[in-house]
């Protein structure tokens, strides 16, 4: 009977370990968007001096699509990293301003710098939902063919850019 008891305890512990491992697995945080074509979209401009943003703008090159907002504190923390990428002639960054106050957004970008090639305003969150976004900031690496290669939830850092994004870019 001791043998049966030992087996029962072993199987229980094994199941608990498997369950905990599944809960903590990084696979659970992989975006379902990876490997899929970027959805077609067309967003209006954030001011009268610039164009809006369409999915066609991201084609033909590796590009970062960054979801951000002026009301988002983490986006302000991320902003210097994006500026650094731009200043070092890194990958082009395209912005999606999510549910934003455009007057405040334009003032912020004018004062702190604009790291984006183009920005589109997603006023009703329709693109956000199609991209499976849960919060701002969030970034996607898009291939020249328009395939989503990488998704990062949270503030992009120089480390993530260099160690996780750049290795995916084929030279």
């Amino acid at each position: 009977m001791r043998f049966i008891s030992a087996i029962l305890i072993f199987v229980s512990l094994l199941l608990i370990a498997v369950f905990m491992a599944r809960l903590g697995s990084p696979k659970t945080t992989i975006s379902p968007m990876i490997g899929k074509p970027l959805t077609e979209f067309s967003l209006p401009a954030i001011n009268s001096e610039s164009d809006g943003l369409t999915s066609a703008d991201l084609r033909g090159k590796y590009a970062i699509l960054n979801i951000f907002a002026q009301w988002c504190i983490t986006c302000k923390y991320e902003h210097p990293v994006l500026m650094q990428i731009k200043e070092k002639n890194g990958l082009p960054i395209y912005g999606v301003a999510w549910r934003d106050n455009l007057t405040k957004l334009n003032t912020w970008l004018k004062n702190d710098g604009n790291p984006y090639e183009k920005i589109g305003a997603d006023n009703d969150g329709s693109l956000i939902i199609k991209l499976g976004v849960t919060g701002a900031p969030e970034s996607f690496l898009i291939s020249p063919e328009g395939i989503v290669l990488f998704n990062y939830k949270g503030a992009l850092t120089q480390k993530v850019y260099e160690e996780e994004i750049l290795p995916l870019v084929k030279k």
Binding site: M1, I4, S5, L8, V11, S12, L15, V18, F19, R22, S31, P32, M33, K36, R99, D124, G125, S126, I128, I129, K130, L131, G132, T134, G135
Partner: protein, 128 residues
């Protein structure tokens, strides 16, 4: 008179808010269909709430999107498929029984069976 003015000032902001609330679909059958979908979709920024019950902005945006899709003539299956494509099956309040969710469905059953076996084993042992 002063109390009456204060009362009006208190009521006025909530009345204005009601005017800007989400627009429902005019067709009652379509609105019912939308609500059926809301109850099946998990709020991705809340814990254990459907978008039907959530007050989060993202849940509100999803409700607006779903109503728009229904208005365009999209079926319930198409809308749910599209949301699952974007967010994965985690967005469903009741995940389907598939390989990826098998542990979620069968672990509690196995745990109960093991628990019962333990109790039965020790109960028998103590009775001997």
């Amino acid at each position: 008179m002063k109390k009456f003015i204060i009362l009006i000032l208190i009521i006025l902001p909530s009345y204005s808010f009601a005017l800007t609330a989400e627009e429902h679909l005019e067709n009652p059958a379509q609105e019912q269909q939308a609500r059926d979908i809301f109850r099946q979709i998990r709020c991705v920024v809340c814990s254990g709430e459907s978008i039907n019950d959530s007050k989060a902005d993202l849940a509100k945006e999803m409700r607006v999107m779903i109503r728009n899709e229904i208005d365009k003539g999209r079926s319930e299956e198409q809308i749910i498929n599209e949301l699952t494509q974007s967010y994965g099956i985690e967005i469903l309040m009741t995940p389907p029984v598939i390989k990826e969710t098998s542990i979620l469905w069968f672990f509690p059953i196995i745990a109960i069976l093991l628990g019962v076996s333990f109790i039965a084993y020790f109960f028998n042992k103590n009775n001997k």
